[in-house]
Symmetry: C2
Subunit: 334 residues, 2 copies
């Protein structure tokens, strides 16, 4: 194991002072070009690698952005993080990802950890147990900027980026109504999560605007997985009058619904139309292919990064809300 080379080693070799080396390596103009070149050459020759730990410590700030999500196997989150991290890397940041597993307690621990790491900024999609965003205020106290995306606290008063969930659901239901559907079911989760609440509001509003009743029996909140979609649909099929369309808050749920419908001998979309949310890859694998409400994940990632970057390096916390338009991708299931 070789000795680690520091700026002092380079300075010594060159017979100059290490602060000059530091300046040269950071491309500070006040260094003569000749010295600068000499230093760079020597640094390279000696295999110098900056010690970020020392640099971060000295600057009291790590060049890292913390990402806090409930869970990162959901396609939405993994794609988002992938895009976000490409974006952040371009600007010289590293990314640390933490999963709260939907638990408030873990979320709080992660926030402590983030502070302890003196990250440059944080983006977060909150856990379902977090009703408000109070515990994030700790970040403010120590001057760390943060931006919420997708799952935001109800009382949110910091910058955040959202899909227009309300509009997406409204449009999806409107489409179904235009196709003559009248008994439109809504499949969601029992958890109170902003995103899904908004989708529900869009659903009811569209029904009302078209003079259709909102029926409790058509609203089933089993959960967010494929099997939840399946079991929810089983319940629906036991009704005296079955639904003629289903809007589910996630594609996986829709796929479960389609499986259940087909198993019951019903045709999709002839007997029952199905629409999902998220444009998950499995929607394309499904037969028929799934109509879905699409959110441009890469745009969302870029916007989130933009809002965060705007705050990092600015003196004040700011409050800006960005809502991204949702678009319906019409495929075979509707």
């Amino acid at each position: 194991m070789k000795k680690t080379i520091t700026i002092k080693d380079i300075a010594q070799e060159l017979g100059i002072h290490h602060t000059t080396v530091s300046r040269a390596l950071r491309e500070i103009k006040s260094v003569k070009k000749e010295t600068r070149d000499k230093i760079w050459r020597k640094a390279h020759e000696m295999g110098y690698r900056p010690n970020r730990l020392a640099r971060d410590f000295r600057n009291n700030r790590s060049n890292t952005i913390g990402v806090l999500v409930p869970e990162f196997q959901f396609h939405f989150f993994s794609k988002f993080i992938s895009d976000f991290s490409k974006e952040a890397t371009k600007s010289g940041f590293s990314v640390m990802v933490f999963q709260s597993d939907g638990k408030l307690k873990i979320e709080k621990e992660i926030i402590e950890s983030l502070i302890s790491y003196r990250v440059s900024g944080v983006i977060a999609s909150i856990s379902k147990e977090a009703v408000n965003g109070e515990h994030f205020e700790l970040l403010e106290n120590v001057g760390i900027r943060y931006v919420f995306f997708d799952r935001v606290p109800e009382d949110v008063r910091v910058s955040h980026v959202l899909l227009d969930n309300y509009q997406g659901a409204y449009d999806a239901v409107s489409l179904l109504i235009r196709k003559g559907r009248k008994r439109i079911a809504f499949l969601s989760t029992p958890d109170k999560i902003s995103v899904f609440n908004d989708r529900f509001k869009g659903y009811t509003k569209a029904l009302e605007d078209n003079n259709l009743p909102v029926k409790d029996e058509l609203i089933v909140r089993e959960g967010l997985l494929m099997e939840d979609g399946f079991s929810a649909t089983q319940k629906l099929l036991k009704l005296s009058e079955r639904p003629d369309a289903i809007l589910a808050v996630r594609d996986e749920v829709s796929i479960g619904a389609i499986k259940c419908l087909k198993k019951a001998g019903l045709r999709v979309p002839e007997d029952v139309s199905v629409i999902g949310f998220d444009n998950d890859p499995s929607g394309i694998a499904s037969e028929p292919e799934l109509t879905t409400v699409n959110q441009s994940i890469s745009k969302m990632a870029a916007t989130t990064f933009e809002l965060l970057l705007k705050q990092i390096g600015s003196k004040t916390f700011s409050f800006e809300k960005r809502v991204l338009k949702a678009e319906i991708v019409v495929r075979g299931s509707s």
Copy 2:
């Protein structure tokens, strides 16, 4: 923005020395219980949060594990990272994820970055452009332990964890042959990636052991995406004699194949059987559901972490190979 509390602040408040505070907070036995309690109480009262930057700097080691993958949208990688990171968190590590995008140049930069961060360890799945693992030796030079998983260099001589890709493919083909299939196609990628090479070897060996010819026309290397599976299958269907089974190296590719077959009016599995690799969620969405070679991702993650942990804190680099058994999940498509 509040002043940050340090151990010196606590010490001052208590009229003791800050090294005692340091010791107490790290639960070092040589501190009297009484003092210890006093310190913890005060620390909590003052809202002390350790500065990890300072600690890491002083220890010349950050409590972080670097994860290097080609890409993390693939279900395999996002699930792996999710599981790995839960595992690592349990032992008090944080996780930093970097994507090479399959590019050697980026991979090298990431390695520099990892060194610069003095991470405690690294796990990596290498880019397709990396023929050997030479560039990882830099890590060794500075004493950072690393373990490869899934995509490993050809000449690998450090610890690594693999699926038994050879066996998985061998078993899949054997299954198809037992079902009477004789013209079994193989869909893969043109890139030389260890994982897929091994799957290919298993494929040919199984054919040979059953006295079936390995036919070039049945081997199509279009890529790893759904559309690649689709177009590869189109080519296969133009042959004078079509295949009666398809083994693809990823589930997504298989799904593309199934779509193409169905579009051509062929039945799956009656006319053509299809088997994939990875047990991707979309395999379940597909119709028929996809038979696939499954690798236990959580086991792989746990094993990778285990091998890494064994090396962190040990004086010597070690070389241990773990091969995880692959199992076929039989569903409708075969």
